[in-house]
Amino acid sequence: MIYLDNSATTKPYQEVIDSFTQVSEKYYGNPSSIHRTGAAAERLLWRARQQAAELLDVKEEEIVFTSGGTEGNNTAIKGIALAHQKRGRHIITSCIEHPSVLEACRGLEGLGFSVTYLPVNHQGLVDPAAVEAAITEETILISIMHVNNELGTIQPVEEIGKIAKQYPKLHFHVDHVQGFGKVPMPLTNSGIDLCTISGHKIHGLKGTGLLYAKKGTHLFPLMHGGGQEQSIRSGTENLAGTVSLVKALRLILEEQQKGKQHLLDMKERLWSCLDKTKQVSINSPAGHAPHIINISVPGFKPEVLIHALSEKGYYISTKSACSSKNEDVSAVLAACGMPESKSSSALRISLSYHNQQREIEGFCKALGETLHQFSEVMG
């Protein structure tokens, strides 16, 4: 079974599982308890926080451990909105964000906030000039993702960060869930105030994640309670999950160094075979994220192809696993101005550093055979 759906979720590193089980067994104390069992847990939590900060090149107090990407995005967006609503009630985002960003923004519209959903060009790119033009006196937040989860488009967050810096009253949040470990994005001096990372997209565990919140960024918490995580995220800390997350952060960053060329080689191979397949048109912009290729096969129902490919042992997906409302049409592709023939026949192939060239070759062959079989049937 060849898994090519690494943007939906990834297989955890064995080392990640090991640290999870070891910490679960040895450090079961509640970090808020003042006895030694609690203190040992608290020390380990602090060490994990230090390491995470070091790996991201930020300060310890800027790390907020969360239950995942959705919580990170909601904490950032709702947290800024509710804490700064006296200053202004306008938010800028794009129309191709992940549902956890889009729906959080829609929820805020219900509370009286106004949201600008910036359009994207046919490559799925947000125009930084459009971001700047959308800023008003009322703007408190810009939320733009780094790497789009369906297309792999890399947004110009560096330029948007420069713009954001000129408006000290507003905050800039980046959903880095798909980009982390694949496409570097320095945080220091970037103009980025908030950045969401998810564990299970980087071979960490589900239910883990972190939010970078730049020192001095005031957030209203989603949850009230014991005041853990600098009062931004109450609830007994998931120590084993947190330690395993930091392990995943470290390992994926190492792989990013070592495996960069391998990933690019696989993508290039995949690209060239897809490019040669006549029924296929490639939607992802060339030269963007090294791990995601989105294609359309007009005239073919995506589920049918996915099913046929899975029978041959290859697992890919239609679009984001998180959005299955309208059966076939991808809102992201539609926003890029693609006709329905393409936006309703999209498939996403997403790679990890652990895939092999021969798997890519096998996939290309399987796809070719499948299309050939169906073409014959359909005559």
Binding site: D5, A8, T9, T10, P12, I17, S24, E25, Y28, G29, N30, S32, S33, I34, H35, R36, T37, G38, E42, S67, G68, G69, T70, E71, N74, P99, S100, E103, A104, G107, S198, H200, K206, G207, L222, M223, H224, G225, G226, G227, Q228, S234, G235, T236, N238, L239, A240, G241, I306, S310, Y315, I316, S317, T318, S320, A321, C322, S323, S324, K325
Partner: protein, 380 residues
């Protein structure tokens, strides 16, 4: 000296069976439950099975279980979520002075949103009165949130009687059952509750797991927005292995419930008896016969919490002054203050001991011996 953990109400060790059940899921079943392919479907099956078993443990329907990242999130979803979704029906909420901070701070947030909150008092026995609840109820009450077992004293609250009182009233009834779940036989219909919170790490499951039971038809606004998971009431990729671990912990808790109840009751008696043998001056806070067997809260006259805990810890005994979630600070307990009045000595000389998986009759007796000699020295 051998460390002895008597703080199971703060958190519990993960049961080896739980880790064993989680491992294959971590290693093999890594798919996203929302994916339509084989990997996704395998993960979905795990969640479906866990939901069925966990729903069964409180006699609920599986559709009524919303998995969360823990007790705090479930309490917030219950309190903030139902109040906000039903604010057009009324803006009065009833809770108590002895709730966990997850509930209390959620209620304080509602106050800022314009809600009126009644915090029911308790008497010196630490029990919320059914009559007080009845007289606090108003036409515009939309939510009543009362815990099933207090986390500091272990006092069982009269939830079933309160459920009867609320039967004819449209207000939703939420109970934070974090300290009850696993130890008490819970039937949501019998209790007549609409919402119920449970947490995994209090019953030897992994941390960052919990659920909110929501009776079918209860309206809540979600705290988070995103995908379609948990029928939009709690979006975010499901923590599949954590949910599996929680399921295993629930199975173990249900299987051995009466055996454990007996065992912990025995531990508590052993502990108290040893203190008496050693001529320790102490009073049990609350009504001993109305507490869960796993928790005992004891006042040691003439001592002080900080000195007690430091010395206990040095002797290897892990206990607590109350809720662990007040993040390290030793402030007088809000629960004991509600029972005895602010400034009462018992609010600063009481310790919670809580029994569980890490205990044997021998180590409980050993711990009691260490506690006795420390208290006798400090109280001189």
């Amino acid at each position: 000296m051998e460390p002895i953990y008597l703080d199971h109400a703060a958190t519990t060790p993960v049961h080896p069976e739980v880790t064993k059940a989680m491992l294959p899921v971590l290693q093999e079943v890594f798919g996203n439950p929302s994916s339509v392919h084989h990997f996704g479907r395998k993960a979905r099956q795990i969640i479906d099975e866990a939901r069925r078993i966990i729903a069964g443990s409180i006699h609920a329907n599986e559709k009524e279980i919303v998995f969360t990242s823990g007790g705090t999130e479930a309490d917030n979803l219950a309190v903030v979520g139902t109040a906000m979704a039903n604010r057009d029906r009324g803006m009065h909420v009833i809770t108590t002075q002895i709730e966990h901070h997850a509930t209390l701070h959620a209620a304080e947030y509602l106050e800022k949103q314009g809600f009126e909150i009644t915090y029911l008092p308790v008497g010196s026995e630490g029990k919320v009165s059914v009559e007080e609840l009845e007289s606090a109820l108003r036409d515009d009450t939309v939510l009543v949130s009362i815990m099933a077992v207090n986390n500091e004293t272990g006092m069982v609250q009269p939830i079933k009687e309160m459920g009867k009182v609320l039967k004819g009233h449209p207000a939703y009834f939420h109970t934070d059952a974090v300290q009850a779940y696993g130890l008490m036989d819970i039937n949501v219909d019998d209790w007549n509750v609409d919402l119920l919170t449970a947490s995994s790490h209090k019953i030897n499951g992994p941390k960052a797991g919990g659920f909110l039971y929501m009776r079918e038809g209860v309206q809540v606004s979600a705290l988070q927005y995103g995908g379609q998971q948990e029928r939009k009431r709690r979006p975010g990729t499901e923590n599949v292995s954590g949910i599996k671990g929680f399921q295993r912990a629930v199975e173990l808790a249900v299987e051995n419930r009466s055996e454990r109840q007996q065992k912990y009751a025995d531990f508590k008696q052993t502990f108290l008896q040893k203190l008496r043998q050693e001529n320790v001056q102490f009073v049990v806070n609350g009504i001993e016969t109305e507490t869960v067997p796993a928790i005992v809260n004891i006042s040691f006259p003439g001592t002080n919490v900080e000195a007690l805990l430091t010395n206990f810890d040095l002797s290897g005994v892990a206990a607590s002054s109350g809720s662990a979630c007040t993040a390290g600070s030793i402030e007088p307990s809000h629960v004991l203050s509600a029972m005895f009045g602010k400034g009462d000595d018992r609010t600063i000389n009481s310790i919670r001991f809580s029994f569980g998986l890490a205990n044997t009759k021998d180590n409980v007796e050993e711990a009691a011996g260490r506690v006795a000699s420390i208290v006798n020295r400090l109280a001189e």
